[in-house]
Subunit: 418 residues, 2 copies
């Protein structure tokens, strides 16, 4: 059978966190800070029941059970484009005609890379970045490079210029097909990108005559705790108008993960059409019923009411975990972190020299202590540092979360002493 | 932008029926016999409302709004495997562990081809076959060949042996990666394959030392009118055990297209795992909520009650259209067809010499007369005959269907006279 596979089929490997997840399942006492799942208690059971009831008692609602269009429901696309315009203080390049509905924002990322990249092509990513994107890219045979970053974590323009010049002199600059930015409350870093930084990246690329696609993953943009991040999306930044751009958003993380309705905005018609042709071949369009549900809750305002509740809920959970790290003095054990202002993650840097990888003594000890995390090294396109950890406060309830935090700190303490 | 695309991205073209569908939208008086959509009037509005109500008033039901697993809900996989075993008079190679849930059966076909085929690889298809599969394959750069068929439409074993020998002598036999069979009430031909024919194909392949994947598309298997087709699936045929096999089914066509829940069974572990890794990168699993709905209606029996209603409904529609063809004497105008015993389509052969293609005079005249069909030539992997037509009785109601049939016959009459 092995010889039957395509080059893609041969490259595919199990998701890197499979082993960790299996460990979690095998040990029911383990508390998982690994999964990026959302909190089951906050899922909008009543709101969805009401929306379905309204849709299916309305005689016109039967069409929601029929095939929809490949691009997605016009009403939903209009509402999502309108929301995006409100967030961006103007419509920018995001209108309903350039917006399409996807099976979660993940599908948008996958359609984008498939239409852009052949094996050996290059994609630039942040340090750190979303690890499922990295697996998707590696499956496609893509060469991943990190955007050079300075001490402050911001893009190092000189470093980027050097990288581009190197590829130019090797005749490989045309192989640079995309730059992937998780710009709002990033998974895993919880950091957001300033407009100036997005523009700086664009300027260095343009200076070198490179116009790769810019892919902005905004999956966590709505999940802020106190205020939205003020940066407008890449769609609204005029200085980036010469780049093919894709903005990926979702109603999954921010409402109900079980519905799996995401969307993408791509003002570049040729690219968008190709992504849509491919989507048509893969599934003919996202389930129409789910789109109708999201359209309804956007219309009634239930979506926004749920979202506001979610924000408060996740803020409390962030605070609960933060309180443990502070009261148990994780900082004194050589760990450093920033307080997340949105999203679902703490991104912690351990003492230099510590190895947090899946096969490390530290990781095994954490499992022994009954807590699971995502090793930070999985979140790098190249040259992973050994000592980072991603911790999610998505799933666990406050009391469990505090206990999981204490178990993590206990592990850190054992290694600080050792 | 053009130079930015991958080879896949560059190969992608608009779906072939886009132009026809656009024509349909532009002319509201046009009656479409083209779309393979199901009948909106039969959609199970009340059954789905009740299922959702049950799921979401049940406290445990909230998990249906959370992420599910990539492979799909265990309960749903169990029920689907059980149904398949009942249809096949025994479990064969179809157990819940080898079954996974997809976004309609289309996604299963797409995962299968992506994991198997590189550009230049060969796939064998029936004459005629499902045209979206052909577009998917062409997008991947696959070389399509028809299974040689005799006068009776059945596979010509000698012809197939000749084809395989030719590839062997060219050193290309290893490029043959899959054989695709739409074995139950096929789209477009409405024909089904006998077990003996599936086994004959397998024997000729094995005789030549060729073991490509066998892909069986059973999307219409449940949509029989009087009795199920008696052939067991490829999963149950012991003589095919040496081949990697994929069986694709769906709850979409047979229940509610707007839910888009399909499934695949693949007993070959290495292949199945790779398809699942790829699915994980594309969407992490089909929407859990939709799976929970299908699981519920399978449990309550609502699924089967709806299906029984659908069968009677489509049989009546088939009869309505057939009555027009007979009473208006389409046969006397040089047309030939078999009575469909399941599925959604009449497959008509026009007089020899007639061209029914999208750009043909006949097609333009049909549009002029207010009726749209799918040109049969789109349904061939190679060497399309010019004079076939696919006509769907899925969407239109009986009165409209009869009127559309009369418009089609009027067109045929104009060309029979001309």
């Amino acid at each position: 059978m092995e010889t039957l596979f395509s080059s893609l089929g041969s490259r595919l490997t199990p998701p890197q966190i499979t082993r960790l997840m299996r460990t979690a399942l095998e040990n029911p006492d383990l508390l998982s800070l690994a999964a990026g799942f959302t909190d089951t208690g906050t899922l909008p059971r009543e709101e969805i029941r009401e929306a379905v009831d309204w849709i299916l008692t309305n005689p016109g609602g039967t069409e929601s059970l029929q095939y929809g269009t490949n691009q997605g429901r016009p009403g939903l696309r209009f509402l999502l484009a309108e929301r995006l315009a409100a967030q961006d203080a103007g419509p920018g390049a995001g209108d309903p005609a350039s917006l399409f509905i996807t099976n979660g924002s993940q599908q948008a990322l996958s359609l984008a890379l498939q239409t852009l990249c052949d094996p050996g092509d290059i994609v630039l990513v942040e340090r750190p970045t979303y690890f499922v994107f990295l697996e998707l890219a590696r499956g496609l045979g893509i060469e991943l490079h990190s955007l050079p970053a300075g001490e402050d974590g911001k893009t190092d323009a000189n470093g980027l210029a050097g990288l581009l010049s190197g590829w130019k002199s090797e005749g490989r600059l045309a192989r640079l097909k995309a730059v992937y930015l998780v710009s709002y409350f990033s998974n895993p870093s919880s950091c957001s990108l300033e407009e100036a930084e997005k523009e700086r990246i664009g300027r260095v690329l343009a200076d070198h005559g490179a116009y790769p696609a810019l892919i902005e993953d905004a999956a966590y943009r709505d999940l802020y705790f106190d205020a939205p991040h003020p940066s407008r999306s890449i769609l609204r930044l005029d200085s980036l108008a010469a780049f093919p751009r894709l903005y990926a958003g979702t109603c999954t993380k921010a409402f109900a993960t079980g519905l799996k309705v995401g969307y993408a905005v791509c003002p570049d018609e040729a690219w968008r059409e190709r992504m849509l042709y491919l989507k048509g071949q893969h599934d003919f369009g996202t389930a129409n019923f789910n789109q109708a549900i999201v359209e309804r809750v956007l219309e009634t305002g239930d979506y926004d009411r749920c979202l506001e509740g979610l924000r408060q809920h996740y803020r409390r959970k962030r605070d609960a975990l933060s309180a443990v790290f502070t009261s148990e003095d994780l900082g004194a054990m050589g760990w450093h972190w920033e307080m997340p202002q949105g999203g679902l993650y703490f991104w912690l840097r351990g003492p230099s020299g510590l190895d947090t990888g899946t096969e490390s003594v530290f990781c095994r000890q954490a499992l022994e202590n009954g807590v699971l995390y995502v090793p930070g090294g999985l979140c790098y396109g190249d040259d992973p540092p050994p000592n980072y950890v991603r911790i999610s406060f998505g799933v666990l309830q406050e009391a469990e979360l505090a206990e999981a935090g204490r178990r993590f700190v206990r592990t850190a303490r054992e290694f600080a002493l050792g």
